[in-house]
Symmetry: C2
Subunit: 312 residues, 2 copies
Amino acid sequence: MTSSIDRTTTVANQESDATFDLKAYLKQQQVQVEAALDQSIAVIYPEKIYEAMRYSLMAGGKRLRPILCLASCELMGGTAEMAMPTACAMEMIHTMSLIHDDLPAMDNDDYRRGKLTNHKVYGEDVAILAGDGLLAYAFEFIAAQTRQVPPERVLQVIAKLGRAVGAAGLVGGQIVDLDCEGKSNVSLETLNFIHRHKTGALLEASVLCGAILAGADEADLQRLSRYAQNIGLAFQIIDDVLDITATQEELGKTAGKDLQAQKVTYPSIWGIEESKRQADQLIAEAKAELAPFGAAGQPLMALADYITARKN
Amino acid sequence: MTSSIDRTTTVANQESDATFDLKAYLKQQQVQVEAALDQSIAVIYPEKIYEAMRYSLMAGGKRLRPILCLASCELMGGTAEMAMPTACAMEMIHTMSLIHDDLPAMDNDDYRRGKLTNHKVYGEDVAILAGDGLLAYAFEFIAAQTRQVPPERVLQVIAKLGRAVGAAGLVGGQIVDLDCEGKSNVSLETLNFIHRHKTGALLEASVLCGAILAGADEADLQRLSRYAQNIGLAFQIIDDVLDITATQEELGKTAGKDLQAQKVTYPSIWGIEESKRQADQLIAEAKAELAPFGAAGQPLMALADYITARKN
């Protein structure tokens, strides 16, 4: 873990600015996000559902979506405080999608983030409800907890987030993914559709919602949208590569699953080296979108580098 | 179906106002709600998820939650147009809860509203995702489609609805319900907790959200909250009674399930006659809350009567 961050720091230092310390930035943002997530859900009666929700929400993870949301809000002149409820909601929804994705009827996974999956600990029924609870709470949390933001912007954020999670986003990507299971003739177009929706939509929403809260204009939103779409696809390409090259210990989840399932992935189409090259190209394009923002864009620049440099 | 509505009409006529035609009112509201629901989800690529969402959303049902929402908004001086997106969202969320509740890992039901359950038609994986899609879309739909309402009221509605669905509401009720399965020593207090959350919270949210959209003041919201809590509990008591007394054809779902599962219900604690008496008492108290509204309260009065008079 340390080595991946070290490498990222170096990359970020070389490519964006020698004064920006990504390692310290990530650490600081993660601490803030963890604290906010920890405070977001108290365990009251009926304890089991809150414990199940917290079990997966507090199971670590990179907190990439919240950090992107906070960074994007600050880039557009907002404060971390304005974006924190939305940032937490992004992680609640991401966690919900992992809990449901791990269910026996879906990917049937026993481990996630190095721990037993939710349904292995609490049972399938509780895991389904814990996901539903996190999804509903994410919207409640944004609507009830956002401060110092005009209400019409908060509504825009809720609309965008709902779309990013539903059939037009994450859920739609998962459906096509399920449909492609066991098929060896999946086209690159379909693979792109899956990942632009399954992973990309929520990453893009994280970036855009942060910017919307800060009052970004349409031109900046379009620029950030292209940034986010590029890093989203790069993120998935690297995920596919790591599934082949990383160990289970590094991943915190079962490694080699795609190969075992004979799943069509970017490396299965392009090979590992070309996949890495494509990811690097997407990251370069993402970073180019940030050029007009100058030094203020450093956190998002460094986060883009982090996507390809990570080990899990 | 006709006979139950006829009986309701008579009750409503006797007890509220001879000029109010509940049968015509329900029919008219149902037609409007069906049309709005039908327009709310188009089938586009990937078709399967939209079809699965529509399959359960358009499978009939009483549309009680949307009708309560519209009636409450109109009672407080708002228009049906202001409340229609929220009314549809209530039905999307109710439908989501039914889809997930019917899953093999939960209640494992094959029939709902007289049709095969979602997972029996589309598979468990798609059914889980269809529920997630409906839940996310409900919030998007309110945020993106509500017109002629100040945005801070829409945010209040989203916060209240999120709370009504999540661990503090519906999901919390379901968790306690699951926990009580196979237990014969469930207390009346626990039974009340289950139903105030599992059924009551969303019914209450339907009534309150309609009123919030219209700009109701705190006193009226408290009055409507008591109305809604009473009809919610009465609704569940009658549900338990119908599980014993109605046929599968009348219910559109498996009858006698509670007895078979040796589930503690209101009739198992009180007997059938006392259960009906308690439900009638709750309905009388609910209607008493509406007295200050005079003739404008007729639709909600009649809807309260409908709860106990219904046959499914």
